[in-house]
């Protein structure tokens, strides 16, 4: 009898990814992290790890890479900070967990898993989610840990465009509208 089938798919965001602005080196960097993450998750699944473990450990690799808009490399808010969101859902139990608008939790997907597995709730937000994560031993970091220069430049460009056109989100027609 063969091993039960396992499979995995991952994404690192969608949007206006222009070939003209993508150097071969940059493209190789993206593919390297994606390959590492998907293979890591697949290996965990092959070893019999539960799906939620594979999902979290795979996403943690992407959260730790400055290339993607999550964790380190997250985009900036208007006020120059980072507010992170994450969620997870198990298709067998229909259990789910999520955190929204958190600033100091090192791995938001770990916090979402904790909400799913350890709390009676589905979504915790803001300061309350941070307090819950802290009380339950998740790693806390300064918000500046998520800083990257190219995201700061993206914020500056977006704010300049917003100022030119009008106030508010109606003017957010650039790539920044993508999550």
């Amino acid at each position: 009898q063969g091993k039960p089938p396992v499979a995995i798919a991952i994404h690192g965001g969608a949007g206006t990814i222009l070939k003209s602005s993508m150097t071969p080196e940059k493209e190789a960097d993206y593919k390297k992290v994606l390959t590492h993450a998907v293979k890591h998750g697949y290996t965990l699944l092959q070893k019999g790890e539960k799906g939620e473990v594979a999902v979290v450990e795979t996403i943690k690799i992407l959260e730790s890479s400055p290339l993607f808009n999550a964790g380190i490399g997250a985009v900036y808010t208007f006020d120059g900070e980072h507010e992170l969101d994450a969620s997870i859902m198990h298709g067998g139990s229909k259990n789910a967990g999520a955190v929204a608008g958190v600033k100091t939790i090192r791995s938001p997907i770990e916090a979402a898993l904790m909400v799913m597995n350890e709390s009676p709730h589905v979504m915790l937000s803001g300061k309350g989610a941070e307090d819950y994560a802290k009380e339950n031993g998740l790693e806390q970091v300064d918000n500046s840990v998520f800083d990257t220069e190219f995201r700061k430049q993206a914020l500056d460009k977006a704010k300049a465009r917003m100022q030119q056109v009008s106030n508010g989100y109606g003017s957010q027609q650039g790539n920044e509208r993508f999550g």
């Binding site: 089938p5 990814i17 298709g91 999550g179």
Partner: protein, 135 residues
């Protein structure tokens, strides 16, 4: 936004999503990523989905759960359900982005209606795919 969907050795499918949200967001804006049913959803009877894109549309069109519902109640394949929602429903609405999805048999779909989506998969036969653009 980043995400992962898996089929594990116990036959369960799981979806997860993590994001920094939208550049220059204010007023505690939250997109679809932490919203169960919009950016993330999983049901062993249909599929597991993680989405990325213009979050307001994914919330309003309940994208992740809609893909699962089309499989469950209309009997569509994973590929057809995901493609319909991303390349028909969302496109008509003006919502840009894409999803990764997996079903209980390990079938994978990764449709998107934007210029590109960073994505990778390993199927039940161990075939590895890594891609960015449509081609």
């Amino acid at each position: 936004t980043v995400g992962a969907v898996v089929l594990d050795s116990e036959g369960n499918i799981v979806a997860g999503t993590s994001t920094g949200g939208m550049t220059a967001k204010r007023y505690g804006r939250i997109g679809d990523s932490p919203v169960i049913g919009a950016g993330t959803y999983a049901d062993n009877e249909s599929c597991a989905v993680s989405a990325t894109g213009h979050g307001e549309y994914f919330i309003r069109y309940n994208v992740a759960a809609d893909i699962c519902a089309r499989m469950k109640y209309q009997g569509l394949s994973l590929s057809d359900a995901a493609n319909t929602v991303v390349n028909d429903v969302l496109v008509k609405a003006g919502g840009d982005g894409g999803v990764i999805a997996i079903d209980a048999k390990g079938n994978v779909a990764m449709p998107f209606n934007s210029a590109g989506m960073y994505r990778a998969s390993i199927d039940v036969n161990g075939n590895v795919k890594v891609a960015i653009y449509k081609d």
